[in-house]
């Protein structure tokens, strides 16, 4: 776990094992009054190693629930989830993924560096290896000068970068991100997106990224998974081909191909092409 992140830029389908494989997954939350809430219904999704997939949809479409199921923070009511060929539970135990939430969730009493080292420390990585790895990650997210600062001395964007560095600490093949930029202002957000594209290219990790921003999903992803609510299901999977990291500068945000993809996701989100936004709770079956 102290090894450097893998360098390959295009790690897709090297072994044939999917990074994430979700098959026929449903999740029902039992409520006290007997009216159960179906958060997810019959969801199938396969994510290749190194692939960046966004989950997008209105609130209550179960995108965060799906992420939590993959992370084994919750278990599906039916269906199966595999991460790199292992059960979600085993994958969690083996630290096959790193995770970042909307709140950076840094421990306020730890410095930036020791926040990044937290997972390594918990898994008994030796001190020199820890220090080497955290230095690498600090450089990766551009915070080398802030190693000894405390979280309350950082801006929201910097805190989120620390959280991303922490999620990468054990060089996971999969990164789970639940609206990590949701609380940031638009400027910081775009800068963070550009950085995330670069970081993913450098680490070669697959990413499942929950968001409700269409441009964000399009800018970052290889595929955008559009979900619909009540019950949460996958409505559409839209492939976005904007090229890998090198080509994705700020200029891309103004390119025609970017707009086309945004329109495609938009129309899918709103149901019919050019139609009025679908009423909430519309039955998609």
């Amino acid at each position: 776990m102290s090894t450097a992140p893998s360098e390959q830029g295009q790690p897709v389908a090297s072994t044939g094992t999917a990074a994430v494989s979700v098959a026929g997954v449903s999740k029902v939350f039992a409520s006290r009054k007997g009216a159960d809430v179906t958060a997810l219904e019959a969801v199938d999704l396969t994510i290749a190693p190194g692939e960046f997939v966004s989950l997008i949809g209105p609130s209550g479409c179960g995108k965060s629930t799906l992420l939590r199921l993959i992370a084994d923070l919750d278990s599906p009511t039916s269906g199966s989830i595999e991460v790199f060929g292992k059960t979600a539970r085993q994958a969690r135990i083996d630290q096959a993924y790193g995770i970042a939430f909307q709140q950076a969730g840094l421990l306020p009493w730890r410095t930036v560096r020791s926040n990044i080292e937290l997972p390594l420390e918990l898994h008994r990585v030796g001190k020199p290896a820890r220090a080497a790895r955290s230095s690498e990650l600090l450089a990766l997210v551009g915070l080398s000068d802030f190693a000894d600062k405390y979280p309350d001395q950082l801006s929201g964007g910097m805190q989120q970068r620390v959280a991303i560095a922490r999620s990468l600490a054990e060089s996971p093949g999969l990164l789970l991100m639940d609206e990590p930029f949701g609380a940031l202002d638009e400027m910081t957000r775009e800068r963070m997106q550009t950085e995330l594209v670069r970081i993913c290219a450098e680490t070669g990790a697959a990413v499942v990224f929950v968001t409700h921003s269409i441009p964000e999903a399009v800018f970052l992803s290889n595929r955008v998974v559009v979900m619909s609510p009540r019950p949460g299901r996958i409505r559409d999977v839209i492939a976005v081909d904007l090229g890998r990291a090198e080509g994705r500068g700020e200029g891309l945000r103004e390119a025609d191909s970017f707009f086309e993809a945004v329109v495609a996701v938009r129309e899918s989100l709103h149901g019919e092409p050019a139609g009025a936004p679908a009423a909430r709770g519309v039955d998609q079956r």
């Binding site: 969690r92 969730g105 840094l106 009493w109 309350d152």
Partner: protein, 294 residues
């Protein structure tokens, strides 16, 4: 506890000013108040201003620098008081330590098992409603029956036990709140690291509990001191401040400033106890940083 922006010098100045104001109010009332005290109906709300009831501040201070018994060449009053103060402080410290350990263990147990919380918490609250005066003789009697090998229960242990009985309460309540203070976010993060309850306790819950724990420790220190002084009186332990207050009160008729000396001693004990807790707080500054603004 420490507010930024207020330099140490000024805080000390305000502390001294507080004492001076208190002394001034005392003397002012003594000079201007009615000799019979302020009486509402049958109730005396303010004391008589005679030298017997309210000695001059300077008389009380001067008394500290005369021998314990006016005649004879005893040690100085301040020496005797200081000695008694340290004796009481030592007993209180033992009680505080035991109380903190027990309180922490109870809090950890309650955090770990929800059923333990619902089973224990009412009893913990109830335990504090038992009057100290009632349990002190009981503790002494039970203690006197303990004799294991060369170990025999001594009276000071009864006093320390009663002090710990008062001290554990704020610690268990404060620590429980602190241990339960981390957000779901942090707890889930620890789960994604697939670490167990113990690592979560040490790396997350205990550090997060510090801001809740420090006020509890301070309260526990105050409780331990009060418990010690009161228990010394009701158990009849010699050598401490509590007993000294009772003994000297008997001498108030001929030497009105004398009973005030051990009261000053009790104040010193309280200040020292608070100071020690403040030092602990200083050592744990790192864990008292504000929450991250998200």
């Amino acid at each position: 506890m420490t507010r930024t922006g207020s330099p140490l010098g000024r805080r000390v100045l305000f502390g001294v000013l507080g004492v001076v104001v208190l002394a001034a109010v005392w003397e002012l009332y003594k000079a201007l108040g009615p000799a019979t005290g302020v009486v509402l109906g049958d109730l005396t709300v303010l004391p008589r201003t005679s030298d017997l009831a309210m000695p001059h501040v300077w008389d009380m201070v001067a008394r500290l620098f005369r021998p314990v018994r006016s005649s004879g060449d005893d040690e100085m009053m301040w020496q005797a008081v200081l000695q008694a103060s340290f004796f009481s402080l030592g007993v209180a410290a033992v009680g505080w330590l035991v109380g903190v350990v027990v309180g922490m263990l109870l809090a950890i147990l309650m955090q770990r098992f929800r059923t333990a919380e619902s089973a224990l918490l009412p009893w913990i609250v109830l335990s504090q409603t038992v009057p100290l005066i009632a349990i002190a003789p009981l503790v002494k009697r039970w203690g006197s029956q303990i004799e294991i090998g060369s170990f025999s229960w001594e009276n000071w242990m009864s006093v320390a036990l009663i002090a710990s009985y008062l001290a554990f309460f704020p610690v268990s309540i404060g620590a429980l709140r602190g241990l339960e203070s981390p957000d779901v976010n942090h707890v889930e993060l620890m789960r994604t690291y697939s670490v167990g309850w113990r690592a979560t306790l040490i790396r997350l819950r205990l550090p997060a509990s510090v801001p809740y724990l420090l006020p509890a420790l301070r309260l526990a220190a105050a409780n331990a001191v009060i418990g010690t002084v009161v228990a010394e009186v009701s158990i009849g332990l010699r050598g401490g401040i509590g007993r000294m207050i009772v003994e000297y009160a008997a001498a108030a008729g001929g030497d009105p400033a004398k009973p005030w000396a051990p009261i000053f001693g009790a104040v010193v004990v309280g200040l020292l106890a608070a100071g020690v807790v403040a030092l602990i707080g200083l050592a744990l500054t790192r864990y008292r940083r504000g929450e991250t603004p998200a």
